[in-house]
């Protein structure tokens, strides 16, 4: 089911954002998983896998919600005016409105996951790791087009004026925050490593794919904890 949630901020007008939701089984209605997806380029690679995971959880009876934050996915807000700080606050708000009790953050989603909710970080990635990939992609594409660019030069540009990387428009604040951002962990969060699921991370794929064995392994880790038999 696609529903909406309202993102209100201290500054600026409230924006209406979409959220994909599965209701699960009424018998387990007291638990609901907020999913913070992989971000930027990795969002595309992980989209299908994330969707399959939600279906698998739903089949097991667990409800879940995948909100768009402003600037993500179907949102009408520009990415260039977003920041990680803002997204962290938005994620807390989305969790409240959507009635989430737990959180699963995937890859860069761990950079904005609410520490107030218990849950999991699946293969959490640092902001620097995500940026390194996108900067490198831009340098390679520029080189092919006959333009020489360097990480240092692009970094300076990003921090000062913002920058477009791999088709994503980053504002200066977002860029600067990404350079230093590390997944926030707390005692309430368990890390799920890729090796816990077997196979290779789907975010590495040149072309987006899916892997049902990994979906089932990830769903089982979550449902075994949240829905003890």
């Amino acid at each position: 089911m696609i529903s909406q949630w309202t993102c209100t901020r201290k500054k600026g007008a409230a924006s209406s954002e979409l959220a994909l939701q599965f209701d699960g089984d009424a018998a387990f209605a007291e638990k609901k998983l907020l999913i913070l997806p992989a971000i930027f380029d990795e969002a595309n690679k992980m989209r299908r896998q994330t969707m399959l995971l939600m279906r698998e959880l739903n089949a097991a009876g667990l409800a879940s919600a995948l909100p768009d934050l402003p600037g993500m996915n179907e949102s009408l807000q520009p990415l260039s005016s977003q920041s990680l700080t803002q997204w962290r606050a938005d994620a807390v708000l989305a969790a409240e409105q959507l009635g989430a009790t737990h959180v699963l953050a995937i890859r860069g989603g761990a950079l904005i996951a609410p520490t107030s909710l218990p849950g999991w970080h699946y293969a959490p990635a640092s902001g620097a790791r995500l940026l390194r990939n996108m900067l490198r992609s831009r340098i390679l594409a520029s080189k092919e087009a006959g333009r020489e660019e360097s990480t240092a030069q692009l970094g300076e540009m990003g921090r000062k004026d913002g920058i477009e990387l791999a088709g994503w428009q980053f504002g200066a604040k977002m860029f600067g925050e990404l350079q230093d951002a590390e997944p926030e962990t707390s005692d309430q969060h368990s890390i799920i490593a890729q090796s816990d699921l077997g196979g290779a991370g789907l975010w590495l794929r040149a072309e987006a794919g899916d892997d049902m064995a990994q979906v089932k392994a990830l769903a089982a880790l979550i449902t075994n904890t949240l829905m003890p038999t």
Binding site: R129, N133, R136, S137, R138, A141, S150, A166, L204, A206
Partner: protein, 127 residues
């Protein structure tokens, strides 16, 4: 070894000979061990790099096992666009514990499997 025989002037050379031989053998064994280690390290980089390519290209290990020196990569495999190559290089950094500078990346290094492997092995050997 000759010098040592000279220093141990009173000794019967026959008693020194086995020691010398043993030393020589040890040196040979060391050299052999060093070259074995280098070979093992190079082979490890080869298998790690193939695994990364499997993971990036979504191929089975069997498909990538046939990659040789001349197997074309960037510009030959349509799925290896600049974003995918960036992912490949970043994953190489993480798994091989190397740092790839902007200026390291050129067409030659990315064009064939042999080029990429040679680059990775040199980087790993440099530590």
């Amino acid at each position: 070894m000759i010098e040592q025989s000279g220093i141990d002037a009173g000794d019967d050379t026959a008693t020194n000979a086995p020691e010398d031989l043993a030393r020589e053998a040890a040196t040979d064994a060391d050299q052999q061990a060093v070259s074995d280690t280098e070979e093992a390290a190079a082979a490890k980089v080869d298998s790690e790099l193939k695994q990364i390519l499997c993971d990036v290209l979504g191929l089975d290990a069997d498909d990538v096992a046939d990659f040789d020196e001349d197997t074309g990569l960037f510009g030959h495999l349509p799925e290896l666009d600049s974003m995918a190559v960036a992912g490949l290089l970043t994953e190489m950094e993480d798994r091989l514990d190397i740092i790839i500078e902007d200026e390291d990346v050129d067409g030659e290094m990315l064009e064939t499997y042999g080029g990429l492997l040679g680059f990775a092995q040199t980087k790993v050997a440099e530590g």
